[in-house]
């Protein structure tokens, strides 16, 4: 996949690039408004990660011109502003998703994958990982062709794992992904074990081996 990361904070931009490149994606960067406008006009991307507050211009203007030219591209807005109106404005203008700083790269990656899967931008609604198949439209997962009876959270967890395969996911990241802001209500993330264990059981011995413990308290979804 080909991504454009339009972000004026070079450190953040490079971190995103590093994370996304691991899956063999091609990442281009734009560090200011003009560069971003130019690249968007000339090249085609699968997904653009767009900071609203770019030096010398607003990311929303780039989004507007993209939609004007009817480019087939997924757009995820990054903003330092957690305001509902900003969010609605961005989504109204045709952005596919909106993420507020600070965010986990795993979360960003999961959202990029979700945008890609919606089909419009060259993605597939079917996620496949060896014997695991996930139909994101009907929100069902199959193992060896058999449908698994997953709860909503277990399904989300599986998709999150597969989207971020090969990466270490701490319990904090998982909790944040599954429960959002409510996760700060939890004294500890112990009950994530419960969810993961349930998921492991349902994946059967065949699939369970992919969920590995990393560094004692984190998890990694990986092929052996």
């Amino acid at each position: 996949m080909k991504y454009l990361i339009a972000e004026d904070e070079i450190d953040l931009q490079q971190s995103i690039v590093t994370y996304l490149q691991r899956d063999g994606n091609l990442c281009e960067v734009a560090s200011n408004f003009n560069e971003a406008s130019e690249k968007v006009a000339i090249y085609d991307y699968d997904v653009i990660i767009l900071d609203i507050n770019l030096i010398s211009g607003s990311g929303l203007d780039i989004l507007k011109s993209l939609k004007k030219e009817k480019k087939e591209v997924g757009v995820i807005i990054i903003s330092a502003n957690n305001s509902l109106t900003d969010k609605l404005e961005g989504l109204d203008l045709g952005a596919d998703d909106y993420i507020t700083k600070p965010f986990h790269l795993a979360e960003l990656n999961a959202r990029i994958n979700a945008v890609l899967r919606r089909g419009k931008y060259g993605g597939d609604e079917l996620i496949e990982f060896n014997e695991i198949k996930i139909d994101t439209r009907s929100r069902t997962a199959y193992i060896d062709g058999k449908a698994m009876a997953l709860t909503k959270k277990e399904y989300d967890l599986l998709v999150f794992f597969v989207s971020n395969k090969g990466r270490v996911l701490s319990k904090e990241i998982i909790a944040e992904h599954l429960w959002g802001d409510d996760s700060d209500l939890l004294d500890n993330f112990d009950f994530i074990y419960v969810h993961i264990n349930n998921l492991r059981k349902k994946l059967t011995t065949e699939g369970a081996k992919y969920i590995k413990t990393a560094y004692g308290s984190g998890y990694k979804f990986i092929e052996d």
Binding site: S83, L84, K101, K171, D181, D182, D184, F191, Y215
Partner: protein, 419 residues
């Protein structure tokens, strides 16, 4: 300072008191002065009568005794003259009367006479009373007139002051309403008005810039936080670290989340302050509560029970309603240490959320203050309830806290806003 008295009342009181003291003192002075004067007059008249009697005796005229006014007797020896008050029976009036009496002894043509002349005192007493009474009534009348004149004048004079004072009482930083101060032709009042305007605009400017600063800081902090977060995510994935390092790095991520939540809450507070939530719609609080409780169940928080006989519907911004309920329930969950049941009651126009607690709060009055934490063991931003209070203030809902039967009880009264 002790008891506070109203300005007009105070000046009136002082005026009345001085008037009273003046009236009493001057009346007493007048009384004695007039009394002396009258006595002098009476004595003078006694002496002059006596002189006339002596003269008449000298000229061998027949002088009749005319008791009780004049009495002439012949006596053997001369004594010093006596001037005194006396009471004598007056047959003409058929009663005892007070007289001023002068008794002199004169030797005229070889005879010694005792001449006694008397003057009725009653007469001068009546005059005295009449004078003092009329004096007092004139004085009191003049004084009362002055008093009312003065008071109305004062009220008029101070009117700009009182009006401006009322305006200042209504001054609120959160409303952008300008102070409507009245000018006055009194220099000091006019100066006071200018100073108030200057001061309030300065206070407002400072407040605004402080607000802006808070907003900017919390906004600007998000990007560095995002960088730290992203770098940590890469450290975990790009480098080989040991378990202990991973644990520490994960804990940094937790702190970043905390800062993120803090920032979000500060932003919400600023936005409420800036009146950015103007959308008002009928929000079904009961339904919202049901959804929340469902969400909490996913977090293994399944000890919340809701009692609602009828739907609680409130006119407010739905986003703020969500925050209000979320923060109240979160607060109950966080402080529900024993994991006992949380009871929510939403009926008519009140919402009551109660959770078990071992003891009452030490400083319930500080409960809704920013960054006030009663227990340091509980992880919280210290802003949740401050936001709740702010939302309630915005819509004039009344929120109260009490501790009863080992329960922390929060009650929100939405009445007058019920749709």
């Amino acid at each position: 300072m002790g008891k506070k008295t109203k300005l007009i009342k105070k000046t009136s009181k002082a005026f009345l008191l001085t008037g009273f003291v003046l009236t009493v003192l001057s009346s007493i002075a007048l009384y004695f002065y007039t009394k002396n004067l009258l006595r002098d007059q009476a004595e003078e008249s006694l002496y002059s009568t006596e002189a006339r009697v002596v003269n008449a005796l000298k000229n061998d005229k027949v002088v009749f005794s005319l008791p009780p006014v004049t009495e002439i007797k012949t006596v053997k020896k001369i004594r010093p003259e006596i001037l005194k008050d006396t009471i004598i029976y007056d047959p003409s009036q058929d009663e005892m009367e007070g007289f001023r009496e002068l008794t002199t002894y004169e030797e005229i043509n070889g005879q010694t006479y005792q001449i006694t002349v008397r003057n009725l005192v009653v007469e001068s007493g009546d005059i005295l009373v009449a004078i003092v009474i009329s004096y007092i009534s004139i004085f009191v009348l003049a004084f009362l007139f002055l008093f009312f004149f003065n008071t109305t004048r004062n009220i008029k004079l101070w009117a700009p002051f009182f009006k401006n004072l009322e305006q200042m009482k209504r001054f609120s930083l959160s409303s952008n309403e300008e102070l409507q101060l009245v000018d006055s032709d009194v220099l000091e009042f006019s100066e006071l008005k200018d100073e108030i305007l200057l001061l309030t605009s300065k206070v407002r400017n400072d407040y605004d810039s402080l607000k802006q600063f808070t907003e900017d800081v919390s906004h600007e902090m998000q990007t560095p936080l995002a960088i730290i977060q992203a770098k940590i995510d890469n450290i975990i994935n790009e480098h080989t670290i040991n378990d202990k390092q991973f644990e520490q790095v994960s804990s940094i991520q937790k702190d970043i989340q905390r800062l993120k939540h803090l920032n979000q809450r500060i932003t919400i507070l600023t936005k409420i302050d800036n009146n950015q939530f103007i959308r008002v719609e009928a929000v079904n609080i009961t339904k919202l509560l049901e959804e929340k409780i469902e969400n909490f169940k996913e977090l293994e928080i399944n000890y919340i029970s809701l009692h609602s006989k009828n739907d609680l519907i409130v006119s407010m911004d739905i986003y703020l309603a969500d925050i209000l309920i979320n923060n109240l329930i979160s607060n109950a969950v966080k402080h529900n240490i024993e994991k006992q049941g949380i009871t929510i009651k939403a009926e008519n126009s009140t919402l009551i959320i109660s959770n078990y607690g071992q003891k009452a709060l030490q400083h319930p009055e500080k409960l809704f203050l920013r960054f006030y934490k009663e227990a340091s063991s509980v992880q919280s931003t210290g802003l949740g309830l401050a936001i709740v209070k702010k939302i309630c203030d915005l819509y004039a809902f009344r929120i109260s806290y009490r501790f009863e039967d080992s329960l922390h009880i929060f009650e929100v009264d939405f009445s007058e806003n019920k749709s």
